[in-house]
């Protein structure tokens, strides 16, 4: 057992309101620079939709991630040692700026300086690359809230194995639904960007698993852009170096939450430590598609197991990190309650960002035609009743999930490698908590029904209470359990403090050079 610590995340999609505050916080801190205008280390997508860059999930186009060979090993799909060096002069799989969008601003000064005429002055959009006027064709969240539109929602890559009828049902005017998918770098356990970098500039930090690009070693060979299946490595056309989300490591090293998470209005984001077994990385990444998620869950270790603690200490993991792992909200969501799933585990990078799937778009108002009393949504006035939402009053406990208005298959394509059973299980858990809370607070559901619902999804009352608490009431310190980095150990390792007494600071260790 080779225990390592990993900063990992849970995003609770039922709580995401799509306000893009995370995106703006990130942009203001990190990418508001020349060459980085088009980069959105954090972005929020509307699903169904094509996302950013357009259709990033379609690896037939972008050739990202790993694929399993016939011999059961894995190889990079569009990069790798031979392919990477062969394509170094021109990378055929590199997305170009138009796949993202051409960054733009407006000539605001024209509004003030235009001479007096009969017409209102306008502020024309200009390209942030060339400085010339452009027609804006695309933006970073161009498909925001546009579910049902032919250009965006219907081209969603995750619709691929849905029948035309199922797709059509999704986009019926009064049936249409959507939800938001905020994305940042997954700080994967088996990162494809690291593996693809010819210069060896990208690395995973041993202490907390953050994946970074060493800017002084990056030579702009552009292979990471192709290799990252989530398209979260970006090429800065101005500096000629690639950049990516750094999980605000200066903040987490001092125990603060990353900017996107700290600013999250819906409080959907959780950050904590997971312990994992680094000896099993290859085995997990190359497992068969149907076992991918189960095996990934196995790589994370129980931080309360004495064996694990012993192995962790032998590996130099600090006590404070182990303690943080024991209190980790991520461990609870992912391992204890098993309610969060990774995004597109089939890319085989073993991502460390987990999503609690959204119940709302799947369930909302599906019962309009199946109400037990036979009533329906008024077709003319479209009168809305709160009972349409999460109808927990019907006799059948999970009756509505199978008749979901979002095909479970679609959700499964995103979060469970197409496994609809796994997906249904998670949705049922979310539903069970609602039934339980309704029994507790409103009281119109019997204890028997609530108990039956919890029993069916293998949750104890304690679990349900904990899940409810962490979902709805959790304060900052419960959502973010971040062990500060042990800089003092790094300094001791670098030099004898007595040697540098009286001189400036404590000096620094040359390799590895950190920071921008």
């Amino acid at each position: 057992m080779n225990v390592r610590a990993q900063m990992s995340m849970v995003f609770h999609l039922d709580k995401c309101l799509g306000c893009h505050t995370c995106t703006v916080a990130c942009k203001n801190i990190w990418t508001d620079r020349k060459g980085a205008e088009y980069m959105w280390w954090n972005n929020v997508e509307t699903k169904p939709g094509t996302g950013y860059p357009t259709k990033w999930e379609d690896q037939e186009i972008y050739k990202g991630g790993w694929e399993r060979t016939k011999s059961g090993k894995i190889k990079l799909r569009g990069a790798g040692k031979l392919k990477g060096l062969m394509n170094i002069f021109h990378n055929p799989n590199l997305p170009v700026i138009d796949d993202y969008y051409e960054p733009f601003t407006y000539k605001y000064l024209d509004l003030i300086e235009a001479p007096q005429t009969d017409e209102q002055p306008t502020a024309r959009p200009i390209s942030l690359i060339t400085g010339k006027p452009i027609d804006i064709k695309m933006g970073p969240n161009w498909d925001d809230d546009l579910s049902g539109t032919p250009d965006f929602a219907r081209k969603d890559v995750n619709l691929k194995n849905l029948t035309p009828a199922e797709q059509e049902a999704m986009f019926q005017l009064e049936q249409m639904a959507f939800y938001y998918l905020p994305r940042i770098c997954n700080h994967c356990i088996n990162p494809a960007c690291v593996a693809s970098c010819p210069s060896g500039a990208i690395y995973k930090r041993g202490e907390d698993g953050v994946v970074l690009i060493d800017q002084s070693v990056c030579r702009g060979w552009r292979m990471c852009i192709t290799a990252c299946p989530y398209k979260k490595a970006y090429y800065n056309w101005n500096t000629g170096k690639s950049e990516k989300c750094l999980l605000c490591y200066p903040r987490i090293e001092s125990g603060q939450a990353p900017a996107c998470m700290h600013s999250c209005v819906g409080r959907i984001r959780y950050l904590g430590t997971l312990l994992y077994d680094a000896d099993k990385i290859e085995e997990v990444a190359s497992s068969e598609e149907k076992d991918l998620i189960a095996n990934q869950m196995d790589i994370y270790l129980d931080p309360n197991d004495p064996e694990v603690i012993k192995a962790a200490k032998a590996n130099g993991i600090a006590d404070s990190t182990i303690k943080a792992a024991q209190k980790s909200p991520i461990y609870k969501f992912v391992k204890e309650w098993k309610i969060a799933l990774p995004l597109h585990a089939e890319f085989r990078t073993v991502p460390n960002l987990f999503y609690v799937p959204p119940l709302l778009p799947v369930m909302a108002s599906v019962t309009q035609n199946n109400k037990s009393d036979g009533s329906e949504l008024n077709p003319i006035s479209k009168h809305w009743s709160d009972e349409w939402l999460y109808d927990t009053s019907i006799d059948e406990i999970f009756g509505t999930i199978e008749q979901a208005r979002f095909p479970i298959k679609y959700m499964a394509n995103l979060f469970s490698v197409g496994d609809t059973e796994l997906m249904t299980e998670k949705l049922k858990k979310l539903m069970a908590i609602r039934i339980y809370r309704r029994y507790k607070t409103v009281g119109d559901i019997s204890k028997e029904k609530s108990d039956r619902a919890l029993a069916e999804v293998n949750l104890s009352e304690e679990d349900a209470e904990g899940l409810y608490r962490l979902t709805s009431l959790a304060k900052f310190d419960e959502r973010f359990v971040i062990p500060a980095a042990h800089r003092e150990q790094a300094i001791e390792m670098a030099e004898s403090t007595a040697d540098v007494k009286g001189s400036t600071g404590m000096g620094f260790r040359e390799p590895p050079v950190r920071g921008l």
């Binding site: 040692k81 170094i88 690291v194 202490e207 702009g220 170096k241 130099g316 001791e492």
Partner: protein, 237 residues
């Protein structure tokens, strides 16, 4: 004049090359291929491929002749014609690539924004160098042989710090210009994007896929008995 061009210039260029590349490497951030593929990819494909394949082959040809002249000496007769033809072909390939790249650079609005003066200077120099090289191959046949008899001894004399310019002084002006421009380019390398060929990532073949870096060695940090052994003075003190 000859002494200045063939005796002094090479040393100035080489000194500039060594000092410049080291300085630029030490300042860290600036070594990059400075790819513009993100901004324009279609026209880059044929241009970049033609240029790189052409120039690398030609460069290797010159380098092997310089390092191991004995490999070329036995070549004669019809195989000589083949070697020369191949040489010209790759020279033309590199020239075509360079012209296309240059044309792309000055006509594409986006690429223009990432172009600086040194890009233009070095690309023009390279184009001139390719043209002269092709002209030499056509005008002065069997270059792979006189390169060995006249130029290689001259280059060897330069690198062994006993410059002997007698061989080069009797060459046709075309070849002399070729040599002068070559050393000019060598001297300019540290100030241009060409530095990226010095950091060509061959080590990628040998390294493991995943890279993990530690702030400190996790195995030794908890060992209380360890003395201050492998401790170095920090660099900023």
């Amino acid at each position: 004049m000859n002494l200045l061009l063939f005796g002094a210039l090479p040393y100035m260029a080489l000194a500039l090359f060594i000092a410049g590349t080291i300085y630029r490497y030490k300042t860290g951030f600036k070594y990059s291929s400075l790819s513009s593929q993100l901004l324009e990819t279609d026209r880059l494909f044929s241009a970049s491929l033609a240029f790189h394949i052409g120039i690398i082959t030609i460069f290797l040809g010159h380098l092997i002749g310089f390092l191991a002249p004995s490999l070329f000496i036995p070549i004669g007769g019809s195989s000589l014609v083949i070697v020369e033809t191949i040489g010209v072909m790759f020279g033309v390939l590199a020239l075509i690539g360079m012209v296309l790249l240059f044309y792309r650079r000055v006509t594409n609005d986006r690429v223009k924004m990432v172009t600086n003066k040194m890009d233009i200077i070095i690309e023009i120099l390279l184009m001139v160098q390719f043209i002269i090289g092709i002209l030499i191959a056509i005008d002065m046949h069997w270059g792979s042989q006189w390169y060995l008899s006249n130029m290689v001894p001259y280059l060897h004399s330069i690198f062994s710090f006993q410059p002997d310019i007698s061989g080069i002084s009797v060459m046709k002006p075309l070849a002399q210009v070729h040599v002068v421009i070559a050393f000019l380019i060598i001297g300019l390398v540290p100030f241009t994007r060409l530095v990226h060929f010095l950091v060509a990532p061959f080590h990628y073949i040998l390294r493991p896929f995943q890279v993990v870096r530690w702030y400190w060695n996790p195995k030794t940090i908890n060992d209380a008995n360890r003395q201050w052994q492998d401790v170095k003075r920090p660099k900023n003190n």
